[in-house]
Symmetry: C2
Amino acid sequence: MTRLLFASTPHFNAEYKALLLGRGEAVDGVEDRARAILADIKAGGFAALDAWSQKIDGVGLSPQSVRVTQAQLNAAMAACDPKVIASLERAAQRITDYHQRSKPSDDIWVDAQGVTLGWRWTPVDAAGLYAPGGMAAYPSSVLMNALPAKAAGVARVVMMTPPGRMHENPAILAAAKIAGIDEIYGVGGAQAIAAMAYGADPIAPVDVIAGPGNAWVSTAKKLVFGHVGIDSVAGPSEVFIIADADNDPAIIAADLMAQAEHDGLAQSILFTDDANFGQKVLDAVATMIEAGQTGPEAKISWLAYGAVIIVNHLDQAITLSDLGAPEHVQIATHNPEALAKKIRHAGAIFMGRLAPEALGDYLAGPNHVLPTGGRARWASGLSTHMFMKRTTLMGTGIEGLRALGPSGVTLAQAEGLPAHAASIALRLKAVDGT
Amino acid sequence: MTRLLFASTPHFNAEYKALLLGRGEAVDGVEDRARAILADIKAGGFAALDAWSQKIDGVGLSPQSVRVTQAQLNAAMAACDPKVIASLERAAQRITDYHQRSKPSDDIWVDAQGVTLGWRWTPVDAAGLYAPGGMAAYPSSVLMNALPAKAAGVARVVMMTPPGRMHENPAILAAAKIAGIDEIYGVGGAQAIAAMAYGADPIAPVDVIAGPGNAWVSTAKKLVFGHVGIDSVAGPSEVFIIADADNDPAIIAADLMAQAEHDGLAQSILFTDDANFGQKVLDAVATMIEAGQTGPEAKISWLAYGAVIIVNHLDQAITLSDLGAPEHVQIATHNPEALAKKIRHAGAIFMGRLAPEALGDYLAGPNHVLPTGGRARWASGLSTHMFMKRTTLMGTGIEGLRALGPSGVTLAQAEGLPAHAASIALRLKAVDGT
């Protein structure tokens, strides 16, 4: 039952903690089998990939037909509503602009001791993206995962999506074409992660794997982490909305339902300083659900994990929000920027009565792949950083060697590493004869 | 037997591949027990931590004495050679300077459609660092792991190091004091990772765990990844040296041994375009080993994984280096910067005949925690980024809503998400009445 909680009541802290920790992310029983699939395909290549695809997806794979052709992509583009194509293109441009601006920059300088220092970012050679089938097949996710890699300058971007059903949803392939994805394969689940991590000739391996997926995909990604990079460990998503009474309850209700309709495990919480407004939002949500104006998952999520929390003042909402470190915070108040500045832990913040999170899902520009389940305490959303790596640079001539060398020898000796000491000391001797 | 390989010979590619892939990183049998330790301490708190410490380290823990006191830190400082203290302080300053400069910066702007966009980096609340005991107990590693967290602005930096033996190596505690670490606990192995990830009252949990360790520590870190952030999956380290004949063979030999003496699984490879010089380096290495001028691990590493590779020209060394994507590349040639620019995959590059990797281990400034085992293809060294996270920002008024809204509604409808569409459409209607 959806809660109307008052932050001023004695049991509130315990209730709020239960609300935050109540959602499960269990993946029991999946790990051993995912591990077996990975090992099998690593050792057995394409033949093993084919066998697992038959077993799990009921679709056999051949090296000749596993890759989606240009003709299939063109057919998908043609099968889409032109308005959808135009909107995807619009979104792609805005996402690209944002991510290009957020590319990390190089630096190199000579310090006061004459030591050259710096770093350089380079894109990975190849990135892989998993696009799930079924309920969570969103063309917007294809854009959000592929375009940061493209903006980073990755030369080879690969996508895998379950076979069989991919032509049922042409917008997925259309988004892949608009994003400029270089290779698309009809391979699903843990076996797709194996093929991307280890390769399965003719499929070459990639360096980084991103993209959402079910428990099989998430578990397989976690297992290959270390051999390749992965974007994140994703769980069910959430929105915290901070709103005063000067909002239309029906609009805030729609915002809460927009999160809830993603997934029965999603969490939508409204913080408001006006109990009357909070009650109106609760009523508006009930109306939306009864009228069938949301997907069926919304009701499940809202009844299990939704809440309206009446705070004593809006600053208290900030404190409570930081405890949850949510994926999204939406601030619909007077002067939302001032409140946004006080938030320490959030994947993304949406500021203003006219800035719903749904715009961020599609085309505001920032990525919609964001840390969930409190991971915004330490993790960031998907960005060009995920598809680039930094090489540090150091160089020195005589001056820098003289400045750093003696301390280096002292520390090497203190650590009991004689060849480290010799590596520095022999150079000092070559330069100064001592 | 250490190899002298010629890149011009027919079997070279296979030999080189075997050389790169020959090192193991096996941690078999560790995972199940590490998982049990983590689950036990997560559920049982400090009492479970105490029990595992007794069982594994033979040292019981009490809430009163587990934390290193200020008096113990002062005693450690006093027990160190003042020259070592001065060198650690020097190193700390240079590492801090470099890492402060590499802090990512915030950005916020209004785009042509009137949409406010940006991002903001904030430090995590708490970071934990593991400092191993035994052979790999390096004060330089304490600085390299703690100072990026401090430079990032992390308010609470915690260190754990095995109990019992920590007072045998006062430089470790001295380095912790110099780095300004806030809390130090005598807890070792997987149980330390558990205490940092989940807390064990009076020890509060952290958000990110960094630092080297044995198979127990590495495995435990990988298992807690997702609940907290971890720095990397580390394996044995390596250096690739690219040197022409205008170097002193004894100096290059010392550089090779400096890497080899870290670990029997380390890898040192010299690429040179002069076979005669290559042979001289081989001889100089043999002399160093025979004369006992390195640690005993150096001989083990060199005989198993070392090599001198004679390339046809130095550009070929770049190509071969990128195939290995090594932790360190050292370039001792004429115009090393030109060669460095061509390298795509390396954790760190050292440029010039007077710039040995050993300076980077201690006090050049860049971090010495770097991706190993080919992970430089996709991973970066430790930096302030590890201890900060990015929150994306978006805001809009009427103009931006009108510009983005209709496309957002189109995409929400195409994805079958009615509440997403309503969240945007209701605002458009409120503003424009349509």
